[in-house]
Structure formats: C-alpha cells, structure tokens
C-alpha cells in the first residue's frame, strides 16, 4: 500500500460531536502549526445545532500559503461514530485514519488502502479521570498530544500556547500540559511515529495575523467611527455584533466617566434593527447593522426608504446558503442581487466585496465614509467562509492622520452665511445634495424627510417632472459611487493570455491557487478581482480585452454576471460562468477542473497541425 507522504502540505480533518469541547482543542492544533511558521487554513463545518450533531474541523497545512479549501482528506481524526462511514470514505487512498479503538470495530468498518492508527482514548481517559466532563474535555487534548507525536509538532509550541491561554490559572495550565503529554507519550511508545505526513519548522507566516472575518468587520466598525449598532441574532452574522460589543467595551469607554461612546441595541427583529440604524444615520451618528440573507429580505422596505430619503447606513451581510432558511451554517455568495437591488421601485446600492479578514476590517471602516459621502445604504458583502473561520491574513493597519469623511453636511455657519439649502438639490453636479442634521439652526435648514416623492427642496410633490428629476439625480449619484469604491485588483498572467477570469470575495484564495496550478499546466489566465459594485470602468475594458472571461461565483444563478450584463452593459456572450454552490467553500481543484474542461472543449486544433 502506498502511504501519502508530505511535509507541510496536507489536510487533516477532525470529525467531532457538537458541544464536546473539541473546537478549542482543534484550534490549538491549528495554532501550534502556525507557531512553527507553517501557514494553515482551518474551516469549521458545523450544523445548525448546539449539542449532539456532527461537526467537522478541517485544517489545511500549506507551506505555500494556499488558504482556500483544498478538497480531499489525508488524515482523518474520526471521533464521531455517527459519521464514521462517510468520514472513512472521504480519506484519500494512501491516507491515514486516527481513531479511538477502546471498543473493537468489525473489519468491514475499515478500508484496506489507508493506514489505521488506533488509540484507546476512552480507556486512557477513564483510567486517568473520574469526572465525566474532564474525561470528555481532556480526551480532546490527549488526541492533540498524540497528533503532535505523529506529525512532529513541537510540543514546546503547544505548551507555550497553553501558558498564554491560561495565564494566571496555574491549575488549568498544569492539567492541560499533563493531558498533552499523556497522549504524546502513548503515541511515541505505541504508534508508528512519525507518519508520512509531518511538519517541519518554516518561516512562511511572517507578520500575518490569524483572525475571523466577523471580528475584523467589528473592529473595522470601531475604527471607522460607528457609534450605533442595531442587530438581531442570525447565523452566521451574530458574532459581528458580539465582537463589536467586545471591542467597544475595551476601546470605547470614556476614561473619565466610565460611560460608553457607543450604543448597541439588540432589536426585536431585523426590521427594527435597520430602522434604528437608519434613525441614527439620519441624525448624524455612524451606524450599522449586521445580518444575513433572511435579514436582508426583511429589511428591504427600509432599505428603499434609506435609498430614496438618502440616509447613510452600513449593512454587513454575512452570506449563507439560501433561499428561505436555506443552509444557515453553509457558505454562499447568493445575496448579491438581493442586496444590489434591494427594495421595491428602482433602487441600486453600492456593494463592497472583501476577500479576507484584513479587507473586512479595511472595507468596513471605509464603508462609513462611503455611506456618509453618498448618503445612501452601503453593503459589506462577506460570507460564512470568511466570517466564521479563522484566516491567516495581513495585519490590520490604520493611519492616525486619517480623518472621517462626513460627507456634505450643511452647518450652522454655512446657513448663517446665506448658503442656499435644498435637501435634494444637486449643487456640485455629482448627484450628491447637502443635508442638515436635526437641531442645526433655529430657522434655516429644517426639512421633512419622507419616503414619498418630493422636489429639490424636500417639498412633497407628485409632479412627474419632479419625480424624474430626482430619480435621475440618484442615477448621477450612483455614477459618482464608482469613483469612491475600492478599485478592482488585476493579476496579470506571466504569459500572454486570451482568457480572463473575474472573481470576488471569499473565492480569492482558491482562485489564486488555481491560477498557479493552471500556469504550471501551461494555461495562462488574466484575473480581475472585483471589489465593489457599481463596477469600475476597468471591468468592462478587462472583458473586452479577452476572447472569453470566466466569472467565478458561489451561487446558482450567476448573480455577479447578471450585474455585469445589466449594469456594466457587458455582452453576455463574452462571459462564461463557473458556479459552485453546494454550501462548501469553493476549491482550487474545482476551478482548475472547470476551466481546463472548458478550454479543451472549445480549443480548436489548427488544420495544419491536425494533419
């Protein structure tokens, strides 16, 4: 039997039971590899459940730093009898199965083409601990100990992580170290250490940090000056508001009075949450809500109001699988159209597409400037894959000299000086009018905000020309948006390429890897990562410069392609959709496979060569 052998480049998958305490042990495993200077990309695959259902944690060890999901499993740590059969099936031929052999299993439960590593975990725990909870929790640490021996993870690194985690809690620290060595010693004595898969210290992590996207969004909101947050719990976005609470507690207290420079309200539903955010935005505080697809559906009436009444507000959509309740714990990019055109009537909204936690931080902070400059709702479009997984990414950066752009605010002084004020008057030709905040001036600048049609001076008017005038100004404003959004990022192929590829958001790491793999195969493709909607003019030029452009998305209906066709007016015949939407994060293998299939099916061999 061939055994897979690989150094710093393999996939370990843990099959666990939800609520068994495995999550922190598994994260410890991932962090210990990072501390050895080897990049990892972990992903939680979890059910909509608190306790009892199966959950998986997949760690890709990747010295080259490919952070997308690879697909396939080299070492399965099978701790859940419920999912045993499928877990065993998933292992690559020549791979490894680590399991608890306290109770014998029939031969039919195993495969012949993989290496079996049985360890009596339950037996060891029962012999060492009497408390049932301890037996469960330390079982997880014991298998991490065994894996450290099998994969040659430096135990000192794990001990260091323990000492950081349990600083000042000596008893906890000691008991964890003990469990770690219990597993490690057993493995060294009884198991075939090391395996063909192993770690070697490297220096490929650098200054990068390990963060999840939702925390990064929350931190971006703190740095971007958000002072009002209203939200309603929904997977996978709840941890955005929770992290915002945590960061605000640490960073936004008033040192003198102990009072809070922020207000966070858990609304009674998504309608109230967006209503509160809009009320605050109308009154001049930077405000946001975080939600997922079903929440966006509920908010759409209000989104139309904010669009038409021109109120700045930020919505963070951590996308999950839809429609309806859909796949609440799986990832997709399937709210693109719902957000771009949210609400009844003619509406369009700026969207931002961060690729990782770093951009979640940057774009969320920036979104408040964009929302106030444009006086309109702005969407930060992340997804479960970025939001709820810890990802290796560039450190967060900030420029202390940076000022917030509060947009066109008509002040008391300007009104006193006799400035003409029309709430919906386009004075600068960019479609953006001036606004006053309530309470600005005793006699000037007051106006009535409404979702109904009005003239340039905010006076109710159902006259057709007034309505059209206003709607056309909103179109001009949307044109202006193009100049304010993050520009696309071009990855030029090493050799001249006739095909292009457009992608966005969490597809980024898989795409970067796919481009490398394709280049090695001799398939050269120029790639453009779109970071905002409305699209920069560059996007249209990019498509025009190639004989065909792949549009890679994680949804069924080619939603970004629809926007490229309808909004950027790109000929659909020039676009080839590659769609991945089973709820798992897209992989480089999928992209490479689809692109090569397409290219070989359409490549015409010249007659001369064929003969």
């Amino acid at each position: 039997m061939n055994q897979i052998s690989a150094i710093n480049d393999f996939v370990v998958k843990f099959a666990n039971v939800n609520g068994s305490g495995s999550a922190s042990a598994n994260e410890l495993f991932a962090r210990s590899i990072l501390r050895m200077g080897v990049p990892v990309s972990p992903r939680n695959i979890f059910p909509s459940n608190i306790q009892g259902l199966p959950t998986w944690y997949e760690v890709r060890v990747t010295e080259k730093g490919y952070l997308g999901r690879r697909g396939g499993v080299d070492l399965m740590v099978a701790m859940n009898p419920q999912t045993w059969d499928n877990d065993v099936k998933e292992i690559e031929p020549g791979g490894y199965l680590f399991y608890d052999n306290s109770k014998p299993l029939p031969e039919s439960k195993f495969r012949k083409d993989i290496t079996l590593i049985g360890m009596p975990l339950t037996e060891i725990c029962n012999a060492t601990y009497t408390d049932p909870r301890q037996r469960q929790l330390f079982k997880n640490i014991i298998y991490v100990g065994a894996l450290s021996a099998l994969l040659e993870i430096d135990p000192k690194v794990i001990e260091q992580l323990f000492s950081e985690q349990y600083k000042g809690k000596e008893a906890l620290l000691q008991s964890n170290v003990k469990a770690l060595h219990l597993g490690r010693d057993y493995a060294l004595k009884n198991l075939p250490c090391p395996l063909g898969l192993r770690l070697k210290p490297a220096n490929n992590v650098g200054e990068r940090i390990f963060s999840d996207g939702n925390s990064a969004v929350a931190l971006g909101a703190v740095y971007g000056g958000a002072s009002v947050c209203a939200w309603y719990p929904i997977t996978p976005s709840s941890s955005v508001a929770e992290a915002f609470m945590g960061y605000c507690k640490k960073l936004r207290g008033d040192a003198e009075t102990g009072k809070n420079k922020y207000a966070i309200i858990q609304g009674e539903d998504e309608l109230a949450s967006i209503g509160i955010a809009i009320g605050a935005g109308w009154n001049g505080a930077r405000s946001f809500t975080a939600t997922s697809g079903p929440g966006i559906s509920l908010m759409t009436e209000f989104i139309g109001l904010a669009y038409f009444a021109e109120i700045p507000v930020v919505l963070v959509d951590v996308q999950r699988g839809g429609p309806s309740t859909g796949m609440p714990t799986r990832t997709q990019q399937s709210d693109v159209l719902a957000c771009a055109y949210a609400s009844h009537g003619d509406t369009k909204h700026p969207l931002l597409f961060p690729e990782d936690p770093t951009e979640c931080f940057e774009m969320t902070a920036q979104s408040f400037d964009i929302a106030e400059r444009l006086q309109t709702p702005v969407f930060v479009m992340t997804d479960l894959d970025i939001g709820m997984n810890t990802r290796l990414c560039r450190p967060f950066k900030w420029d202390d000299k940076q000022e917030y752009d509060r947009g066109k605010l008509m002040t008391y002084e300007k009104l006193e000086a006799g400035a003409e004020f029309g709430r919906y008057l386009d004075v600068d030709g960019d479609g953006i009018p001036y606004r006053t905040l309530p309470g600005t001036h005793p006699t000037k600048g007051g106006y009535f905000t409404r979702g109904t049609t009005k003239n340039r001076y905010a006076i109710y008017s159902e006259a057709g020309p007034d309505y059209v005038d206003n709607m056309q100004r909103l179109m001009r404003k949307f044109e202006t948006a193009k100049t304010l959004l993050p520009q696309p990022v071009l990855h030029q192929a090493a050799k001249p390429a006739s095909f292009g590829a457009i992608y966005y958001g969490s597809t980024s790491p898989a795409m970067q890897e796919a481009l490398d793999v394709l280049a090695e195969m001799g398939v050269h493709i120029n790639a453009l990562r779109v970071r905002g909607f409305p699209f920069a003019d560059q996007v249209k030029d990019f498509v025009a410069a190639h004989s065909g452009t792949f549009v890679i998305e994680q949804n069924r209906d080619a939603q970004l392609k629809t926007l490229l066709v309808t909004d950027a007016k790109i000929n659909p015949a020039q676009l080839i959709s590659l769609l991945h939407y089973d709820g798992t994060p897209i992989t480089a293998r999928f992209i490479v496979d689809q692109i090569t299939k397409h290219i070989s099916a359409h490549s015409v061999v010249p007659l001369k060569k064929a003969s």
Partner: protein, 351 residues
C-alpha cells in the same frame, strides 16, 4: 382641508414666549386632512404645549409612520426636522435618532393602524426600552387613508360606516403600555384641548417612554351612530380621573386647591406635576392599581382619561446602556478611533 393659506407675515403685536418665539412660529404647513378631523386638534395642542413650554422648535425631532396621523408632523413645528418613515416602524427610527443625539426632544406621532396593527411589535419594544420620547397615538379606530377599514383598536361590536359589525377584540394600547413599562401613560380626547395640552407638556418634561393615547374621531369614516370613537360617543363616555396642571420651571407653586383634592408629583429631574384629583381613590403612581382600575372601568364601557400613570423615578434608554453625555453624533475620530497603538496590540494578540 382648507385652501386658504395663512399669511406669512406675523402681526407685530403677537406676543413672544421666553424663548423669543410667537405661537405662529410653532405652526407648520396647512393640513391636508379632512375639515373637522380630530388629528388637527391634536396638532394644535402640540403647538400650544411647545409654545407654552418655551421649546426651541429646531430642538424637536418629529417622527411618524404612515397614515393620516403620520402626515400631521408636516402640519406643526415647521422649523423642526421631521421624518415620515415606513408604516408601523416609527418607533425604531425614533429610537435610532434618539441614540444618535440625546439632547433633542423626540416626538413620535402615530395612529392606531400604524401602532396597534402593523407596528405593534415596534410599539411594544420601544416602550420596553424606555426610549426618552413623547409617543402620541391619534386613535380613531379606523384606517382613514385607505377609506374606512377597521383598525385593531376598534371596539368589539362597534359598527363601521358600511354597517359591518366588528367581531374582534380591541387592542388596549394603554394596557399594553402599562404592562410594557412605559413610565408616563395618559389618555385624552382630541376634542378636549384643556385636558390634552397639559398632558403633552407633562410628557415632554418626562424622562423616559411617555405614551399618550388620544381618541381622535375620524370625521369621514368613523363618526356615525354605532361607532365607539365618534365625537358623540366619546363625549358621553369620557370619565376623567384627574386634571393635570403643568408646573413650569422647577419650583413648586403652592396649590390653590383645597387640601386633599390635589397631589403634586415630583419627577427625578426636578420638574413637578400637579394633579387635581377627580376620582378620589385614584393613585397615578401605583402601576398595579392603575391597571386594575382601568380594567374595571373599561368593563363598564367608560373611557378613562387623564394622567393614568407616572413613575416619578423613571429612567431612559441612555441610562440603561450608559452612554456618554455628549451626543454620539458629535463625537469625531478623536473620540471614536482607538488609533494605531491599540491596533498593534490587537494584531499582536492575533498571532
């Protein structure tokens, strides 16, 4: 509605209040509601209350939902910012506005369709949170703007203009406000300005969720025999439990009532409300007794009006969540952004 525009020029002899405004400065656009609509009387009472309290009009934010009642903020306080939001959602928008700037006075105007049907959830939750506001429901038991359908506050057995009898239980907004923790609860009648103006003034001075249910007959669709929200019916069944004299300033004025007939309620901020008792056994500071009293009298078909409940030690949402005294909308990058040094520490903790 009237088509005669009021002259813009004010008579020089119009008297000014202590804030330097004439009563006309508190007016808004000309109402587009039906002539005789109860809502217009409520607008007039709001104008009167603000003028008497020397409130600077631009320090008021008036918010509403959708419906006849929600149109009215355009018809008073023309120099104030107004916000006509979406149907039933005024409470959330008001809550957000209040969070952004705690220094303004928030006036929410809604109707029974807006607050008791589509917006019941938001009505309930803004009361629970104790948002510092005056929340007025202009209650006519009917959908006026869509021409006469029953609303959720229509009494069981009452008859619509088309002759349909309502078989659903009515929604008791006063009872709900009491249950949900509103700290100032009053009911009045649009036709009784003498009672309504002081109640609005008391609500403005109150810190916390102040709710006023104002029965306001719909002249077009709910003012006929068989209606329980008509001028005639309300006049016949109105039972006031007290009369409120609002005491301006912070000093108590010696009562000129005979002892035993009046009671003065001191609020936490130093203001005081003088209540002239009509029902001698009525204690407006005891929530449980108030709820019992109202239930008993409602069962007899009486519409109890007056200042029904007040919590003199009320708190508001800002106190609950401990926000800074400076309005959040006045904080800039200096106050809100933790800066690079803090960010470096966070980066280090994520390695």
């Amino acid at each position: 509605m009237t088509y005669l525009a009021k002259p813009k020029l004010h008579h020089p002899s119009l008297s000014k209040n202590q804030a330097g405004y004439t009563r006309r400065d508190y007016e808004g656009k000309i109402s587009t509601l039906c002539a005789g609509c109860g809502h217009d009387s409520i607008s007039a009472s709001i104008i009167q209350a603000c003028w008497e309290l020397d409130i600077q009009p631009h320090r008021v934010a008036k918010l509403s939902g959708i419906g006849c009642s929600s149109k009215t903020p355009d018809y008073f306080l023309g120099n104030s910012h107004g916000f006509n939001s979406v149907h039933g959602r005024m409470p959330s928008v008001l809550t957000g506005a209040n969070l952004a700037n705690r220094d303004l006075l928030y006036l929410g105007v809604s109707g029974d369709g807006d607050s008791a049907s589509i917006g019941l959830g938001q009505f309930a939750h803004c009361m629970r949170r104790g948002v510092n506001m005056v929340y007025i429901v202009e209650n006519n038991g009917v959908y006026g703007l869509t021409k006469g359908q029953f609303s959720a506050t229509a009494d069981k057995g009452s008859k619509s203009k088309r002759g349909v009898v309502n078989s659903d239980e009515p929604l008791d907004m006063i009872g709900m406000a009491l249950l949900l923790g509103a700290t100032y609860v009053a009911r009045s009648f649009s036709g009784d300005k003498k009672q309504l103006v002081p109640l609005i003034k008391g609500a403005i001075e109150h810190k916390g969720a102040a709710f006023i249910d104002v029965v306001s007959p719909c002249i077009a669709f709910n003012n006929h025999a068989g209606s329980t929200k008509s001028y005639e019916y309300v006049r016949q069944h109105n039972e006031a439990v007290n009369r409120l004299d609002f005491i301006e300033g912070r000093e108590e004025i010696t009562a000129d009532y005979a002892p035993g007939e009046t009671v003065t309620v001191h609020q936490h901020d130093g203001s005081a409300l003088r209540l002239k008792k009509i029902a001698t056994d009525y204690d407006a500071t005891d929530r449980v007794k108030v709820m019992n009293y109202l239930q008993e009298h409602a069962a007899r078909g009486e519409v109890i009006t007056g200042l029904l409940y007040i919590d003199p030690d009320s708190e508001d949402l800002h106190e609950h969540i401990n926000t800074v005294d400076t309005p959040l909308n006045q904080l800039g990058a200096k106050e809100l952004c933790p800066g690079t040094a803090a960010l470096e520490k966070i980066n280090a903790s994520l390695r």
